[in-house]
Symmetry: C2
Subunit: 140 residues, 2 copies
């Protein structure tokens, strides 16, 4: 597990502000710092312990999806119908377009990843249901 | 300035192997670790003090170019006809397609950046002349 001070010290890119724009699609508090809004769009996303985003799908007519570069703390990534994958700094996650998934912090740890938008033709994100406490609560 | 030990401790992604495949386009020793070869192609590039790549151009019929996310040490980026820009951890560089440029370490410091290939239509890289010692040697 990592504390806020530990992830802050390990982060190269600032944590940014509270992620109010997307808070309705998250359980718990996240922070967002857009480090690139041209060429390839990249956000630095930080999750407080217990925070995770809802199940969601990156749709695209061609290419699209997202990549996560894990940089501090520990978290999880899960695709619909699969086991959750534990994430540590240095892990890279390829999220194909069309795959329902969620990601977020471990219950007891702060977590930070860069989220890289894979350029898409006609890209959009569909937000679905929250990850229920009874499922999330089983994670270590 | 940063030592090898300092950049190694700060790096989230491993340094990887000596960058032999591209060594003919570099002055000095660099290291390359491809952290993504699908969706968006990303390499972790580390330069020894004094190491820099030759002037080069990312060509593309559409989109393309490269982004640098600076993660450890200190270095430089220069576009043809412009002053060199000093780079520190947390800096983001947008390199448009068609612009002649070079990047590398400061003379007295190790330097690491992620190099993000912006997806292109018909992308290619044209390598040009080395950055001469008499120009590079003026940098701090």
């Amino acid at each position: 597990m990592s504390t806020k001070q530990e992830v802050t010290e390990q982060m190269v890119f600032p944590m940014g502000e509270k992620n109010d724009a997307f808070s309705k699609y998250f359980v718990g508090q996240s922070y967002l710092n857009m480090i690139s809004t041209e060429q390839v769009v990249i956000g630095n996303v930080t999750f407080e312990p217990g925070c995770r985003n809802n199940w969601h799908i990156h749709h695209a007519d061609q290419n699209g999806g997202q990549m996560l570069l894990c940089t501090a703390g520990s978290g999880y990534y899960q695709e619909w119908g699969k086991e959750p994958r534990k994430l540590q700094p240095g892990d890279v996650v390829h999220i194909p377009a069309g795959v329902k998934h969620w990601h977020g912090a471990a219950p007891d740890s702060w977590f930070t990843h860069l989220a890289i938008e894979v350029p898409a033709e006609n890209g959009s994100t569909k937000w679905c249901e929250a990850v229920p406490d009874e499922e999330y609560g089983k994670l270590k």
